[in-house]
C-alpha cells in the first residue's frame, strides 16, 4: 500500500464515517473513526468522568454533618451514584483505547480537566441541595443533549446518567424547598447557597459561543448538539421560575423575562473568575486535586495487594489444573 492509497482510503473512510453520523447512526468502538474524533471524545468523556469523581468531594464534605438521617441517606446515595457514573464513563472512554490509570494520572498531573463547579467550597448544609438542584440540573441540560451523541457507548452512558441526575435534581430542589419553607436561618442559608452557586452553575455551559473555538467540529461530529449559549439559556429559562417558586431571589439584577425573545435575559457573567478557575486558580482546585491524589496514593498498597492476591489465586488454580 502506497501513501497515496492510504490517503485515498482515509478520505473514503472519513466520508463514510460522516455519512453515518449525518444519518444519526451510532459509532461503535470497533468502527473506524478519525483520530481527532477519538481524541476529542476521550478528552470529553474522561473530563466528564473526572467531574463525577471530583464531584463526590464537595457534597461528600457534608455527609458526616447532614442534619437528619433521611438527608444523610439521600446524600450518601447521591454521592454513590456519582462514583457509579464515574465508573461507567471511564469504561466508555476505555472503549476508545484509553486506560483508566492513564486518565487518572492525567487528572492528578493537572493535564486533564474536570468541571470547574467542583472547585467551589460547600460552606453550609444548603450547598448540598443547591448543588443537587443547580449543578445536576445544569448537567442534565448538557447531558440530555448528549444522549443523542454520535458515539454509542457515550450515548448509552448518558442515557443512564441523565435518569439518575434528574432524580438528584428533584431531590435537590425538594431539599431547597424544605429550607425555603423553614425558619429565618434556613431561608438565609438557602438564598446564600443560590447566591454562591448561581454564576458557577451558568458557567458550567462553558464560554460563550463567540469564544468557543472547538464547537464547530464537535457539532459536525454530533459530539456536541447545541451551542453553549443555547444550553445556558435553556437552563436559565427552566431555573428562574424555580427560584421564584422557592421565594428566593435570582442573584442577578439584570435577570428578567424578555417577552420578545421568549427567554430570560441575564447580566454579564463573571468571566474573569471563570477563566481563573479553569486555569486552576479557583477556591478549591488545590484542595480537590490534593484530596484525590492523597486517596490514590494511600490506596496504592490496597490495589497492589488486590492484584497480588488475584495472581496468587490464578497461580493456584493453574497448578491444580
Amino acid at each position: 500500500m502506497t501513501p497515496q492509497d492510504q490517503v485515498v482510503d482515509i478520505d473514503a473512510l472519513e466520508k463514510e464515517f460522516q455519512e453515518r453520523i449525518d444519518a444519526e447512526k451510532k459509532i461503535e468502538p470497533k468502527d473506524w473513526m478519525p483520530e481527532a474524533y477519538r481524541r476529542t471524545l476521550i478528552r470529553q468523556i474522561s473530563q466528564h468522568a473526572h467531574s463525577e469523581v471530583v464531584g463526590q468531594l464537595p457534597e461528600g464534605n457534608w455527609i458526616t454533618r447532614a442534619p437528619s438521617l433521611r438527608r444523610k441517606a439521600i446524600l450518601l446515595a447521591k454521592v454513590q451514584d456519582e462514583a457509579g457514573h464515574g465508573l461507567y464513563l471511564y469504561s466508555a472512554a476505555e472503549t476508545l483505547g484509553s486506560s483508566r490509570e492513564q486518565m487518572i494520572d492525567d487528572l492528578h498531573a493537572g493535564k486533564a480537566k474536570y468541571s470547574s463547579i467542583f472547585n467551589y467550597p460547600t460552606l453550609s448544609w444548603a450547598d448540598v441541595p443547591a448543588i443537587g438542584w443547580l449543578v445536576d440540573g445544569a448537567a442534565i441540560v448538557n447531558q440530555v443533549a448528549l444522549c443523542r451523541t454520535s458515539y454509542g457507548p457515550y450515548s448509552r452512558a448518558m442515557i443512564r446518567v441523565c435518569k439518575e441526575e434528574s432524580f438528584h435534581a428533584r431531590q435537590g430542589f425538594e431539599g431547597m424547598l424544605a429550607l425555603a419553607r423553614g425558619n429565618e436561618a434556613q431561608k438565609k442559608m438557602c438564598q446564600d447557597a443560590i447566591n454562591r452557586y448561581w454564576w458557577p452553575a451558568l458557567m458550567m455551559f462553558g464560554p460563550s459561543d463567540a469564544e468557543s473555538p472547538n464547537s464547530a467540529q464537535s457539532m459536525k461530529w454530533k459530539i456536541k448538539r447545541f451551542s453553549n449559549d443555547e444550553l445556558r439559556q435553556k437552563f436559565v429559562d427552566q431555573t428562574v421560575p424555580q427560584i421564584e417558586y422557592l421565594g428566593m431571589e435570582v442573584p442577578d439584577p439584570d435577570c428578567k423575562w424578555n417577552e420578545e425573545r421568549g427567554h430570560y435575559d441575564i447580566g454579564e457573567m463573571p468571566w474573569e473568575e471563570f477563566f481563573a478557575v479553569i486555569k486552576g486558580h479557583g477556591p478549591c482546585n488545590h484542595e480537590r486535586l490534593q484530596a484525590r491524589q492523597k486517596a490514590h496514593d494511600e490506596g496504592n498498597w490496597v490495589r497492589e495487594a488486590a492484584l497480588a492476591y488475584q495472581k496468587k489465586q490464578a497461580d493456584k488454580k493453574q497448578s491444580v489444573a
Binding site: 455527609i63 454513590q80 424544605a178 496504592n300 498498597w301 490496597v302 497492589e304
Partner: protein, 255 residues
C-alpha cells in the same frame, strides 16, 4: 428479679443496635470520595447506606417502644456522648484501609450471626427488621471476607498492615459478647439473642476466613468495654460534635 420492665429493656435493646449501626456507618462514610479506588468507594458507601437504613428502622422502633414521641433524628442527634450505647469498636477512627476492613469484618460477622438469631425473635418488629437486615449482612460478610483475604494474603505490606490492624482492634472484641441485664431480660422473653451463641459462631467464622487470609486471631491481653453504659473512648465526643452540629445549632426544624 429484674427491676427493668420489658418495655424499658426492649427500648434499650433496640437503641443499642441502632447506635451500633449509626456510629459504624458514620465511620465508614468518612471514606466516601477517599477510597482506594472507585469500585470500593461504591462498595463502602453501599455498606454505609445499609447501616444507615438499619439504624433508621431501629431508631424509629425504639422511639415507638419508648412512647415519648422521640423520632429517629431526636435519638440520633439529640443525645450526648454518655447516652450513646454503641460498642467501642464502632467509634474508633477509621484508620487505614486495613483497620477499616478488619473493624468492618468483625462487625459484619457479629451482625450476620446476631441478626440470623434475631430473625427468631418473638418481637414481631425486631424479627421483621432482622429478616431484612440479615440479607445485607450476608452480602457484607462475603464482600469483606474477600477483602480480608486479599489484604491478608496479598503483599508483605498489606499482610503487615492487617496484623497491625488486628492488634489494634482486638481489645474491643470481647465487649461485643458481654451479656448484661437488658440482654438477659430480652433473652428470657424470647425477644433477644444469646450473645454466647453469637460468640461461638463469630469465632468460628473469623477463624475460617483468617485461615484463608494467612492471619491469626489473637486472644487480647485485656479487654476494653463500657460502650453500653455510655463509657466511651475519647473518640466518640468528636464524632458526635461533627455529626450533631447542624441539628444542635438549629434544633427542632424540618430539613
Amino acid at each position: 428479679m429484674s427491676d427493668l420492665t420489658q418495655q424499658e429493656a426492649l427500648f434499650t435493646y433496640t437503641l443499642r443496635l441502632a447506635d451500633n449501626a449509626l456510629i459504624l456507618g458514620h465511620r465508614l462514610s468518612e471514606w466516601c470520595g477517599h477510597g482506594p479506588f472507585l469500585e470500593e468507594d461504591i462498595g463502602v458507601i453501599n455498606t454505609a447506606l445499609d447501616l444507615l437504613g438499619r439504624c433508621r428502622m431501629l431508631y424509629s422502633y425504639a422511639g415507638e417502644v419508648e412512647g415519648k414521641g422521640r423520632d429517629e433524628d431526636d435519638l440520633a442527634f439529640h443525645r450526648d456522648e454518655r447516652e450513646f450505647t454503641n460498642y467501642l469498636l464502632m467509634e474508633q477512627p477509621k484508620g487505614d484501609f486495613a483497620y477499616t476492613t478488619i473493624r468492618q469484618f468483625y462487625a459484619d460477622v457479629w451482625n450476620l450471626h446476631f441478626y440470623t438469631e434475631l430473625c427468631n425473635s418473638k418481637d414481631e418488629t425486631l424479627a421483621a427488621i432482622a429478616r431484612k437486615v440479615v440479607k445485607e449482612c450476608r452480602y457484607h460478610f462475603r464482600h469483606n471476607a474477600e477483602w480480608v483475604k486479599r489484604l491478608g494474603d496479598g503483599t508483605e505490606e498489606s499482610h503487615q498492615r492487617m496484623n497491625d490492624a488486628i492488634a489494634e482492634a482486638s481489645r474491643f472484641v470481647n465487649e461485643m459478647f458481654e451479656m448484661d441485664e437488658v440482654d438477659q431480660v430480652m433473652v428470657d422473653a424470647g425477644v433477644g439473642v444469646d450473645l454466647n451463641v453469637v460468640k461461638e459462631k463469630w469465632i468460628a467464622s473469623v477463624d475460617q476466613v483468617f485461615a484463608d487470609a494467612t492471619l491469626q486471631r489473637p486472644e487480647p491481653e485485656y479487654d476494653r468495654s463500657g460502650g453500653r453504659k455510655g463509657l466511651h473512648t475519647e473518640q466518640l465526643g468528636f464524632l458526635l460534635a461533627e455529626m450533631q452540629y447542624v441539628q444542635r445549632c438549629h434544633p427542632g426544624l424540618q430539613w
